[in-house]
Structures are given as C-alpha cells and as structure tokens.
Symmetry: C2
Subunit: 563 residues, 2 copies
C-alpha cells in the first residue's frame, strides 16, 4: 500500500453507523444476528403459523431442562440450545419466557415452610442454651437445618445462572439477558421480575469481583478485533478514524480496560487517560492536542472517557475499581504525576434545566390565572431561577433582537436553548449573556440537585461515590453537537485527591455530602442564602398580608432577589 | 557461560528441599515468612510475655473491623492488617481466632426469627391466593421479606470472605485460611467450624468458576517465576532438573494450567500431556522417552500428571474442567489425536492391601483361638484373598527361601511387601510370583472397593467422576520409590472416550457404576463369582453342620477356592 492510500485509510470514518451499532437494548439486533447465522427459526417452514409458539415452547423446555438436570448430565448441549433459542425469540416471547422463569422457577415455598418449622423446632431456647455452651457452638444438626433453609431460600433460577456462568460464553449471555430484563422493567414494574433482576445482579457482582478481572493496557499493538470494540463502545467522545484511535493509544495517552476470561478480547469497561501539564479545561485540548507534551513533563493524569460495554451490567460499579487501580498503576510508573482529574460530561444538565425553566414558566402562568383565588399552593414552588442582572441582560437582548422572544428572562433563556442547531452557540453576544446563568445553574445542578440523597447527574454520582470532588466547571469545554445538547457545552473537572478518596466516598455515601472546591461552592452558595432569605420574606408577606394581591408577591420576589 | 557450565546448570538438582517446600499445612512456613519479613511480632519487645495474647487480640479486632465496617470505608488497610496479623499467629491462636469467627460471627438469629415471623405472616394462604393471580406473581413486599430472610441467613463472616475476595491477594489468603481450617477439622470435628468451612468452600467454588479461569499453555518461554511454581508443585512425578522441565515443555509434550487473575503467575492447577503413538504402559516411557516421536505421528494424548497447587481448594474440582478444556483444545489443534488417556498412580492401593492382608491374618488367628467356642461372628469377614495357585506359589517360595517367612500365603505376601527397600522388586523370581495376585487384587481394589458409594482410591474417584473409564492395569509401570510404596509399581490407564464422558460421569454419579474395559473387569469378575460361591457354600456348611469343627470351614475354604 502506498503512502497516500494509507493516509486515506487512516482518515476514513470508522464509527459504525447507528443501525449496525451494538445495541443498548440487545433485542432487535441479536435477533438479526441469530437469523443471519442460520438459526432454528430460519430452518422452519415459513408457512408454519404456529412457529413462534413452538419456538417459545422449545426454549421454555430447554430452560426447564437446564434448571432441573442432575449435576453431571449433558448440560452443555442444553445450555447452548437454550441460549441460541432465546436469541431467536421475539420481544414478546422473551418477555413471556422471563416471566415464566421469574414466577415458576423461584422458590419451593412448601419446602421453605417445612424447614422453617424444623428450624423453629430446634432453635427453641432450650436447645440454644444447651448447645451454645459447647466448644463447637450449636450442635451439627442445627447448622445443617440452617444451611438447608438458606439453600431452600435460593430461587430455582439460581442454578440456571450458576450453570450459565460455568458455560463458555454464558456470562456474556447472562449480561444480555439482564439487559432485556432491565428493558422490560423500564416499561412495566413487575414484582417477580424485579426480584429476579435483583438476584441476578447480586450474582453478577460476585462473579465480576475485581479479583476475577485483569487490568490490561490497551495499545496499538493489541489485536484489531479488540481495538474494534474500543471504537464501537466508546460512549463519551466517539472515535472518528484510525488516526484518532492511534493518537488515543499513543504518546501522552493511556487506555486501560478490565478483561474477564469469560469475554475474551472484549473489555467490560475501559478508561482513556491523557498525560498533561495542567488539568485540561476543554475536551478539544485533549482530543486535538497535537503534538502531545513529552511524558516526563506531565504532572496530571486526566481521565477523559470511561465507557462500559455491557448494558446488562448496569448498577455493577466496575468503574470504581478500574479508576483506583489505574491511579495506583500510573502513580507507580510515573511518580511525578500528582493530580488525578477527570474532564467529564454533565449528561443530565440541559434536560434538568429545560424542564426547570418550563415548569417555572408554567407555575408563573397558573399563578397569574389564579391570582384572585385563594389557591396559593403553587407559590411555594415558584422561584426565580435567574439573578436580577441575568434577567436584565436577557430582556435587553430580547428588546434589541427580533429573533430572541420572551415575556421574561426565563422564557428568553428557554427559547434560546431550544433554538434550532444551537444558534446561540454561534453568537458571541448571546454566549456572553448566557454564560453567567448557565455556569451558575450548572454548579447548582451538580451540587444541590439530588435524587434519593445522591447527585441527580449520573456521571457526578459515579465520581462522587468513587471518592472524587468537584473541582472546576468549564465554559465551552465541549462544542460538539452532543456536548451542546447535554450540557450547553459545559464540562466539569472532578479531582481524585490521593489520601482523601475513601474519606470523601464515605461522607458522600453516608450523608450525601458533596465535596467541592471553594470556587464551585461559592458560585452557588450566594444564591442559596439569597433563596433562603427570599423564601422567608415571601412567607412573612403571606402571613402579614393574607388577602394581598398576588402582584405584591411578584414585587416581593424582585425585592427579595435584590437582597 | 560456556557449554560445560550450562550443561551442569541444566542437570543440577532443582527439586526444593522438603524444609523449604511450599506447605501442605501452611501454618509453620508462613509464620517463618512473616517473621523474616519483619512483622509486627518482630517489632515487639521480646521480654513481653503477653505478646501472643496481645497479638491475638489485635488480629481479632482487625477481623471484627473488616466484618463490620461500612461499605465504603478504608477497608484496604484493615484487610491488610488482618491478613498479615493472621499469618503472624501461632497455631493455637489461629485455631482460637477461627473459632471466634465461626461462633461469634455467624448468624444474627434474633433477626432471623423476626423475619421468619414476618414471612409466615405474609405467606399465609390468603396472601398467596390473592397475590399469585396477579401478572407479577406475589406482591413486592413478599419478595422483599424473602430476600431479607435470605440475606439474614447468610453468616456475618460472609462479608469478611466477600471483602477479602475483592482485595488484592485476598483469594489466595482465603485459600490459606481454608487450608488451616481443614487441618484443624482433620484433628477435631467442631460443628461450627465445619459449617464455616462448608460455607467458605461454596464461596470459593463460585469465585473459581471456570468462567473466571484462564487456560494457559505453559512453555519454556514463560517467566522463570512461573516455571519455578511448576517445579515446586509437581506432585505426581517430581521434576529432577532443568533438562527434565524443558523436556516436559518441549516437542511431543504439553503443559496447561488454569490461571486466575487473583493469583497472577501461579496456576491453581496444571496438567502435563505427552503426545504418543500408543497409550504408554510405564511412566519411564513418558519421562525418559528420548527423542519424542514427531508430533504429526501422535494419535494419543496421554495425561501423565495433574497437580493442584492450593491445599485450601480441596474439594473444588477444577481438574474436571481443566481436562475437558484441554481435550477440546488438543482435538481442535491436532485432529489426528483420537485417544485421550491417562497414566495414573494408584495412591491408596498398597495401604489398602496391607491393611487387608493384616486384618485377614488377625481374623484367622482369632478364629483359631475361638475355634471351640460358639462365637463365629468373625468368620463372615474371613475370606481368602489369594487364589489357590497363588497361595501355592507363595508357600513354595517360602519353603525354598529362608528370607521369605510365613505360615500361609497371606503372611508371606505381607512380609514380602513390607520388606526393607522393596527387596522383592529386585528379584525376578519374587516378581514373577507376586505379579498375578498384585494385579488381580489391584483390579479388585479399583473396581470394587468403595467409600460412600464412590471408588475408595482418590485418583480413581477423580477420573471416574470426570467421566473416564478404567482401561488397563500396568505391571511395573513406575519403579520409583514412591511408585513402589503406593502401588507396588502398578499404574493404571484411564481413558476419556469422547462422546461418552458425560454419560459415564452421570452413571458413576448416580449409581456408583464404574465403567471398565473387559480385560480389567474379567480379571476380578472370575474371583467375584468364586467368592459368591464360596460364601454360599460356607453358609450351607454352617446350616448343615452347625456343630462341626471350625477346621471344616477351613477345608471348605480351600474347596470353595477350587471351584
């Protein structure tokens, strides 16, 4: 191959099309996969109208066999039969099959009750007092009944899971199975299936213990079949061509993956690292920084992408262990590296902000309508998202530009952010007006918006539970389509402070407390105290002037905002 | 290095001395290890008489912490503390600590009883009928209580095991811990400790699922640190020097090990294979066959050694999966290989035979003494182990050789087999007389001697449960000291018949049925029918002549043997 052809090849777009992309919901794709490789489905006569039903019954039967066969029987064939058959089923039949598994193969409750009776029989106080005095603790029968009860409380489907785990390719199959279960549970909440999911998740966590995972540094010397997976699964910053991939594996960069013997040549999760002089503020610096600095000058390891390849492993935090091991490894090999930081997306920010802006507009409207009625219940939820100077700047913009419409700052902002092709991001004027409120509200989103006591943003929750802190929020850090959609181009640096990782993780875990740098904390802190004051004032007005016109509250808002 | 020095190095004896050998019982060695590496024990003042007690209390405290700490707390330090501390304890203190673990950290039985109460409450018939009709099965609360009960029935020490498993080096530590437990249980049967062992074994089985193990072909290109392990752990045919090791990894030979990420560079189990034209009859052919045949001419893969490196993993059958995977691999790479056989030791044969011979002598003596009494209870256990022609040949030997003493064939045989330095094995005459009874009784030992329905011989039980059959018994197949001690130099070929492995495993598992070639079966079958006849005749004589002199039975024995 001559140089020119090589250059073209290296630059060729290599991101797979969306249609052939590896599935987040594996259902439709795997059906295709099985059918194209000549499955049982394809061998049946097409005129057979009962085919799907027969298929279903066949798979159900192999599932039953796989669960109930004796320990050393011809399991391999049955398990292959079951997993191949499963992939050939339609969505509806997979759902039926999983419900059969969840409901008909859970516990033998007659046996459980029988053992409970035995247990209560021997664990009476008499037996206890007599037995506990002995050197060996309780008598052996007691431990035996306890063990039997423990075993009886294991669902029958456990043996299917255990057997698949021992079977070549079985762990990967179980991960696909769980992806389907999660897909179904997202649609409908079925108690038995949720119990099955929680059981399977526990099992997968045990099997995927970090002790069973191998940390592998992925380099340009790795097989193409593995590198292909990196391209396919890179979920944060898509890899555009071979040059891009080569750069991410070259000088000044590192890529590490967790490999599991059950899924050879395919990391379960991988992380990309850039070795830099300073913590990068924009992803452009990382992805197009050419040439990279000499590695000996680097003082910062920046984690700029972490991607999990198995949707069926959702909720099993492999990333935490991966990050900890990579930190240890990099620190050992390059002692001059003193900062371990991320440059992370904020995937939920704009979605949260838009719904917040819209709901505030809605509340304000309702309040306008019901102004003469006694119903003031909405008022408590009404807040002004914008600072007065931000409100003013947005309204000024609206007054001098026809394209920017809105009755108030909130509406102007909503309209701007939902404009086609992110027009606002191409205008210096609009950018300068939006910058302050977008950054401030982003800090608030990251620090204060919670769900069950944990950060609402999934990436924030991930790093905080791993023991990181929020260091800096960066304006226009990712100008890609995706970056603008998710977070108006804002990105955040989380920092892993060596020596504080476990402490921060612990305080986040137990109290939900989020560690952040002073800069980030202060950018919301001011507003929070203002909000508190505003709420108090509002409340006071309500008490003092219960029959007052709602406009007064409006005025009071403005007054309160000035405080 | 010149050629001569290299030649000397390669021939140097490399089997480690017994004193530095890796421990079967890790207790004393690991104590040395820890002390020499400057443990806490060494830092204490030697005059402190309470040191062991303080040590013990310190380790118990770190154990308590490791179990009870919150999920994300600083576990690593505590786990290191615990495992280092454990190794520094004396045998007696390890025993105490393990009993504390087994008794004080098992179940919270108050909680179990509380949950049982809840469970019985909601699982009443009413709730069942109402719930089971629903699409989702029972209501969600029901599954939740069931899960809580399941969790409450898990001993508290589970979290110690789980946490150690996640901790670097923890799986290996757990394996050492279990080796200690097994050592203690062999001395004394303590119910709580046995319950702990059975729980730990279950856990280890899950973690060491074949899915988590990597099959690695061990070659001369592997790191010396790994090859050293092979030398240290080879348990069947010790490796004598580097040339021997190199030959076992060279042309016509294969060596495969199961590696686990938690014990890098150290296979948990490994198997050695020779590629041959025919199933070897003696180990000499395998170990000193020089030069090996060209691999393309091989039609047989002979497994001549399988060694497990972790005594703490006893009872977890990794070998079965290893053999199955190696068969698949070899078959794929060398389709001309059609026979998969072993050349195996019979470790329990001589021990069984000597005790059998001795007890028959004893029984015969007792019978002589009690000949006039009515107590005939021993007679039912009395059998003549030897065929008449064997008896005769042995007595002839005794009559013409002074050194060979004995009142009957049984005693002659016992004396010969227990003679110093296996003198019998150096005399052609003695060998020719002993060959027939030793081979015949060996076949009987392998095929008929059972313990709880399984073959008494541990190696036989291992291959039979994996699905092999007994193919051939080989005379003077291992003339080494160890071979003569274990099995009078006899070895056995087990054969794995492709397509019958699961079937044989299943029939052995469910009925204890042992598959054997006709040759082997017939060599005992004859005796068995003779024995049956003899028993019947004996019984008939007893009934017909109840007051007859016992000598008659003696005669009848001889007569019966002639049939």
């Amino acid at each position: 191959m001559n140089k020119k052809s090589l250059a073209i090849l290296l630059r060729a777009r290599m991101r797979p099309n969306n249609s052939t992309k590896l599935a987040l919901s594996p259902l439709p794709n795997e059906v295709n996969l099985t059918q194209s490789s000549g499955s049982r489905a394809a061998q049946h006569a097409p005129e057979n109208e009962n085919k799907p039903q027969k298929e279903f019954e066949h798979v159900r039967e192999s599932m039953r066999l796989a669960i109930s066969m004796n320990k050393t029987e011809v399991l391999d064939t049955v398990l292959n039969d079951f997993s191949e058959g499963y992939f050939s089923l339609s969505y509806e039949n997979r759902r039926r099959l999983l419900l059969v598994l969840a409901k008909e193969f859970d516990l033998n409750r007659t046996q459980v009750r029988e053992l409970i009776k035995q247990y209560l029989g021997v664990s009476g106080e008499e037996a206890q007092l007599a037995g506990a005095e002995e050197e060996g603790g309780y008598p052996a029968t007691f431990y035996r009944i306890e063990r039997n009860l423990r075993h009886a409380l294991k669902p029958m489907y456990e043996s299917l899971f255990e057997r698949l785990n021992m079977h070549p390719g079985g762990l990967k199959f179980l991960s696909s199975l769980r992806a389907d279960i999660l897909y179904i549970l997202a649609e409908e909440n079925i108690a038995s299936l949720r119990a099955l999911d929680s059981y399977l998740k526990e099992k997968l966590s045990t099997w995927l213990s970090p002790a069973a995972l191998e940390l592998h540094q992925i380099t340009w010397d790795d097989p193409a079949s593995l590198l292909e997976k990196i391209v396919a699964y890179e979920a944060v910053h898509p890899i555009s061509n071979l040059i891009d991939l080569k750069r991410r594996l070259g000088v000044g960069r590192r890529c590490f993956g967790y490999l599991h013997p059950a899924t050879p040549g395919e990391p379960l999760i991988f992380i990309e690292v850039a070795l830099l002089k300073n913590v990068a503020q924009t992803i452009q610096e990382v992805l197009w920084n050419d040439p990279p600095i000499p590695e000996c000058e680097a003082t910062c390891a920046l984690f700029y992408s972490i991607s999990s390849t198995q949707p069926g492993l959702a909720g099993i935090n492999l990333g935490k262990f991966l990050i900890k091991r990579v930190i240890t490894l990099v620190k050992r090999d390059m002692p001059q590296i003193s900062t371990f930081a991320t440059l992370s997306p904020i995937p939920g920010y704009i979605q949260w902000l838009l719904s917040k802006l819209a709901s505030q507009l809605k509340l304000a409207e309702v309040e306008d309508i019901s102004q003469s009625s006694e119903d003031r219940s909405n008022s408590a939820f009404l807040e002004n998202l914008l600072e007065p100077e931000e409100e003013k700047a947005l309204m000024d913009l609206s007054n001098c530009r026809e394209s920017v419409a809105g009755r108030n700052g909130t509406e102007v902002m909503l309209n701007l952010l939902t404009s086609r092709n992110h027009e606002w991001s191409n205008s210096d004027k609009l950018l300068s007006v939006l910058k302050a409120p977008l950054l401030r509200l982003c800090a608030r989103y990251l620090l204060q918006e919670k769900k069950r006591g944990k950060a609402l943003d999934s990436v924030a929750n991930f790093h905080l539970q791993n023991g990181a802190m929020i260091e800096r929020i960066n304006w226009m850090a990712d100008r890609s389509e995706k970056g603008l959609n998710q977070s108006a181009g804002i990105m955040v640096n989380y920092v892993y402070r060596l020596g504080h990782i476990e402490e921060y993780a612990q305080s986040y875990f137990s109290t939900g407390n989020i560690h952040a740098s002073d800069d980030v904390s202060l950018s919301v802190e001011g507003t929070r105290s203002k909000n508190r004051l505003r709420m108090i004032t509002k409340h006071a007005v309500k008490i003092l002037f219960p029959l007052h016109q709602p406009q007064v509250y409006g005025t009071m808002h403005i007054e309160a905002n000035v405080i």
